[in-house]
């Protein structure tokens, strides 16, 4: 089944790209209207105390453009690697019926390598957060 084609591209009867674009426009429109309404009829009394950042009543010191811990960066890197590998698995899953056992053996090898990679970053401590107990 291939619902996105050029024949019914602008037809309102087809559940294709046109329908999606119109829906997207409607969604953005509704959100814009909500922003607009609240900007028009919302209360507007600016003040120094109001526009100060909330830190539980204490006057904030310094900027909040802080450096953040390395584990967050590591998670982002791992995500990139595993997500791309996930894309390969998805491509196989869609064509699984045609590929048969040969495809299964190949993807199994791929997934096992992936699992070994996960085990490696696990052993290396890439998935650990905070200090280790006993240190």
């Amino acid at each position: 089944m291939d619902p996105v084609n050029t024949v019914g591209l602008l037809s309102p009867w087809e559940p294709g790209i046109f329908s999606l674009v119109l829906f997207g426009a409607l969604v953005v429109g509704i959100i814009t209207v909500l922003h607009y309404i609240s900007a028009v009829i919302g209360e507007q009394k600016p003040g120094i105390e109001k526009s100060r950042v909330y830190e539980s009543g204490i006057i904030p010191t310094g900027s909040a453009r802080l450096r953040y811990p390395v584990p967050f960066f590591l998670v982002a890197i791992f995500f990139l690697i595993f997500d791309i590998e996930g894309a390969f698995i998805f491509a196989w899953a869609a064509a699984m019926g045609d590929l048969g056992w040969a495809g299964w053996f190949q993807i199994s090898f791929f997934i096992i390598v992936l699992l070994i990679g996960l085990l490696y970053i696990w052993r290396k401590g890439g998935l650990e957060w905070g200090p280790k107990p006993g240190k």
Partner: protein, 330 residues
């Protein structure tokens, strides 16, 4: 030409109904959550506005619209304004690929009861849920508040971690249905829902979905008692409202997706198809509220350990096993 114009009008009516339903249900899901949570904690919940507090969502909406929209002095203005829009828009757009029935026949024409039947519908959902991370991360960063920054970073790290498990848990569904299109996936479940053959996938998907929607026990990005409200500490008025709409629409969409992937979508006896989808959606949403009333919040290392050390390996092994079983059965 008249056919085209009537087609456009019907299309707009369909969109209006879908969006109206989603936003109305989002408002009343907030009410249901407050009411049910209150009952679970042995108190009454909202009961002043209308009978059983049924007018509470309307009162909330009026309040949010008329409240002052405060932007912190040091905030990054344009990104600060953009973030809630991203959160709400991605949640609403995700519903575009969810089928809510067979096609209707009006005026000799077929009206599909789905907004768009993309052949890569599942990937579309992943793309939007990845974009949703931007709303959280940028909202937290742009506020220039330490609480918000922490909430935003936590949210981004949590959402990308669980997105991996979410994606991998759906590979067996794609294998069974042989298609990325949500319409095909629902049609493939006309005999039996996939939860019967894929309980492991279902569990992984449901846990990841709860983590994606940042709800207790995974609500570390918001964590009221340590971060204020996390990434939306600095938001007020309608922008806060948009974060809220985004969150509750997201819950509904995840309920609908759970129904589509594992519970047979709109298939069901006796009742009309869209009622079945609605029932399944609301059931999942109520289960999420129940879990919120039952479980405590996880610690951050526990959260990450659950995602990376349990859900990802389990779903990878599940893929291999499912593939072998499908090929053996034929």
């Amino acid at each position: 030409m008249t056919l085209w114009i009537s087609g456009y009008i019907l299309l707009l009516v369909k969109f209006g109904l879908v969006l109206g339903c989603l936003l109305f249900l989002a408002a009343y899901l907030v009410w249901a959550e407050r009411k049910l949570l209150a009952r679970l904690q042995i108190r009454y919940g909202p009961n002043r506005a209308g009978k059983f507090g049924l007018l509470q969502p309307i009162a909330d909406a009026v309040k949010m619209i008329t409240k002052e929209d405060i932007i912190p002095a040091e905030a990054d203005q344009s990104i600060f304004l953009l973030a809630p829009t991203v959160v709400a828009a991605t949640a609403l757009l995700m519903f575009a690929v969810v089928p809510f029935g067979e096609s209707l026949a009006i005026m000799g024409q077929r009206i599909p009861l789905v907004i768009t039947d993309l052949n890569v519908g599942l990937l579309f959902i992943f793309a939007l849920s990845s974009l949703g991370v931007y709303g959280v991360a940028l909202g937290g960063w742009a506020s220039n508040s330490k609480y918000s920054l922490l909430g935003g970073i936590r949210g981004a790290a949590q959402m990308i971690s669980y997105e991996l498990a979410l994606g991998l848990s759906l590979v067996p569904v794609v294998m069974l249905a042989g298609s990325f299109s949500l319409v095909d996936i629902v049609n493939a479940q006309s005999g039996y829902p996939y939860i019967l053959v894929q309980p492991v996938s279902f569990a992984v998907f449901f846990i990841s979905a709860m983590a994606e929607s940042k709800r207790i026990p995974f609500d570390l990005p918001e964590a009221e008692n340590e971060l204020g409200a996390g990434y939306h500490t600095e938001y007020s008025g309608m922008r806060f409202g948009l974060f809220f709409i985004g969150e509750y629409v997201h819950i509904q969409v995840l309920g609908a997706l759970t129904a589509v992937f594992f519970l047979g979508g709109w298939h069901g006896p006796f009742l009309p198809p869209f009622v079945w989808l609605l029932v399944k959606m609301i059931f999942i949403a109520l289960v999420m509220i129940w879990i919120r009333g039952t479980l405590p919040r996880l610690r951050y290392d526990q959260l990450m350990a659950l995602g990376w050390k349990v859900l990802v390996p389990v779903s990878l092994v599940n893929i291999i096993v499912t593939g072998a079983v499908i090929l053996m059965v034929g």
